[in-house]
């Protein structure tokens, strides 16, 4: 029997088992699909957040809030001082009025309140864009502290501190996704192994007869291995479809609304979907091999 004959035989037998035992097969397919879906979604989310963080970090900003009474001349002076540093890419001056406008844009709900305080409600500030890669972190740190000690500077707000927190959050999310995905994938492999072991148990007499009349293990076990792989493939395809669908739902709502632009929804890559399917097939294969190790 040639390899292709064997393969076509295995496929036919495995297909028959799948169709005859569709109720059990569904269990395996669904657990594989669910685990891949959960793992995949978490990875996409954490990846999206991380890459937003990357983007922001590239254009890291520091805001120096000034005392409300600082004169325009003094502001300009400070601005020039700041610009002289080699790691500063640009500095923008935000007047009190501009600050109020921005605030009411971002939080329209509370804007009434601010409006009632009059013009002086929000202080003017300098928004400083940095290129953090041009300088050693400690040097930058020192520089920021010096900046904060200017009498006119009320407070220095360093975006990057917050970014670091978001980054940790993204890592946690990714870790959680990985752990959940791995646990679920383990469950999926177990389910597949159980389902295949059961199928083999249902047909134990036939298997015994095949052995007795001279069937090789390769020929007898092949269909079960292929059955596992097929279940994995189906599970993978299902979850790839579900991921694609969830993604398009998210994308339709517009990236701006996604957690306040907290994360950048990158275009879904085909590679990821193919990987999901491949992991499914691998899980099915593993389940099949585990079940075959002893029981069939």
């Amino acid at each position: 029997m040639t390899f292709f004959q064997a393969l076509s035989h295995f496929l036919r037998e495995a297909g028959l088992n799948l169709v005859r035992g569709w109720r059990v097969s569904i269990l395996a397919v669904v657990t594989i699909a669910a685990s891949l879906y959960v793992g995949g979604v978490f990875l996409i989310l954490s990846h999206g957040i991380s890459s937003s963080v990357e983007n922001w970090r590239g254009e890291a900003r520091v805001v120096a809030y000034l005392e409300a009474e600082t004169t325009a001349v003094r502001v300009e002076e400070i601005r020039r001082r700041v610009e002289s540093a080699s790691w500063v890419i640009g500095v923008e001056t935000i007047s009190s009025a501009e600050a109020s406008d921005r605030f009411s844009e971002t939080f329209p709900e509370i804007s009434d309140l601010v409006a009632s305080q009059g013009e002086a409600a929000l202080p003017p500030s300098l928004e400083i864009s940095l290129a953090p890669d041009r300088v050693e972190p400690p040097v930058l740190q020192d520089w920021l502290e010096q900046l904060a000690e200017f009498p006119e500077v009320a407070m220095v707000d360093d975006d990057r501190r917050w970014l670091a927190q978001v980054d940790v959050f993204a890592s946690l999310l990714r870790l959680l996704g990985l752990v959940l995905g791995v646990v679920l994938l383990g469950a999926a492999v177990f389910t597949t192994a159980t389902v295949i072991r059961l199928t083999a148990h249902v047909y134990r007499r036939e298997i015994a007869v095949q052995r007795l009349v001279g069937g090789t293990e390769f020929y007898i076990r092949g269909p079960f291995v292929i059955e596992g792989v097929l279940q994995g493939l189906l599970g993978g395809i299902l979850s790839a479809m579900a991921i694609g669908f969830s993604f398009s739902l998210l994308a339709a709502r517009g990236p701006a609304q996604l957690a306040g632009g907290l994360f950048a929804l990158e275009p879904l890559s085909w590679r990821l979907l193919v990987q999901v399917v491949a992991v499914g097939a691998a899980a099915g294969l593993l389940g099949a091999l585990l079940s075959l190790r002893r029981e069939i």
């Binding site: 036939e206 015994a208 007869v209 001279g214 069937g215």
Partner: protein, 241 residues
């Protein structure tokens, strides 16, 4: 050629076979006799390695059956056609597919398999049932399908365990004639049976078991069909008793 050297087989503390010695030359026709529970099926299972001996050694065509690695067992079995006592058909496959299981593994294509199946089934009078499933057959029909399956690959050794238990006397005689015919073409045949009315021929061998021991080993007289006893004991090269 099949040789048993001091073979014993225990299941737990039940002794199924003890001190069995014999040698069956290629091309012989052997009747295996003995009451229910004597150990006939166990003896046959040892030959095609469905069981391993607890003691002693078994040579089949010069190979020590007990020491064949598990991986190679299927290839031993392919040289032996077996009619099992419990028929053992594959429920989910048609009669034709059951009969041609081995040719299929060996890569025979479908038309050729159909031809082979038709040929083998015709020999047992069942060519009209090619596409039936085992559950649709009568007991005797199932038994004959099992016989056809054993014949399909023209094995060097044919083992049949009570193959006429569910057949009427006429059919039984036909089946035995078929086995004789196959034997004439050079196949070694070992036939375990209770049926006392089977036709006898000269030069055929009778082995008789009782409670797991070989108690009789003789060759029938070619002229009178009377039986000539054969010396009991290990066949080759030395007698131990």
């Amino acid at each position: 050629m099949i040789q048993f050297f001091d073979v014993g087989k225990r299941f737990g503390d039940r002794v199924a076979l003890a001190d069995v010695n014999f040698k069956i030359p290629r091309g012989q026709f052997v009747f295996l006799r003995g009451p229910s529970g004597a150990g006939k099926t166990t003896l046959l299972k040892l030959i095609y390695r469905a069981e391993s001996p607890s003691e002693g050694q078994i040579l089949v065509n010069g190979r020590n059956v007990g020491s064949i690695p598990k991986r190679k067992v299927p290839f031993l079995r392919r040289t032996i056609g077996v009619v099992f006592q419990e028929f053992s058909l594959i429920e989910r496959r048609t009669v034709s597919d059951n009969v041609t299981y081995l040719p299929r593994i060996l890569g025979e294509r479908r038309p050729e398999r159909r031809r082979l199946a038709a040929e083998a089934l015709a020999k047992v009078g069942l060519d009209h049932l090619q596409d039936a499933f085992p559950a649709e057959l009568s007991g005797g029909e199932q038994q004959r399908v099992a016989i056809a399956r054993a014949l399909i690959s023209r094995p060097q050794i044919l083992i049949a365990d009570e193959p006429t238990g569910n057949l009427d006397p006429e059919l039984s005689r036909d089946i035995i004639s078929l086995f004789f015919e196959i034997n004439r073409q050079g196949t070694t045949v070992i036939l375990a049976t209770h049926n006392p009315s089977l036709r006898r021929r000269g030069r055929d061998r009778i082995l008789k078991l009782e409670s797991g021991r070989l108690v009789e080993d003789r060759i029938m007289d070619p002229i009178s069909a009377e039986d000539i006893p054969v010396a009991l004991g290990p066949p080759d090269p030395v007698a131990t008793r």
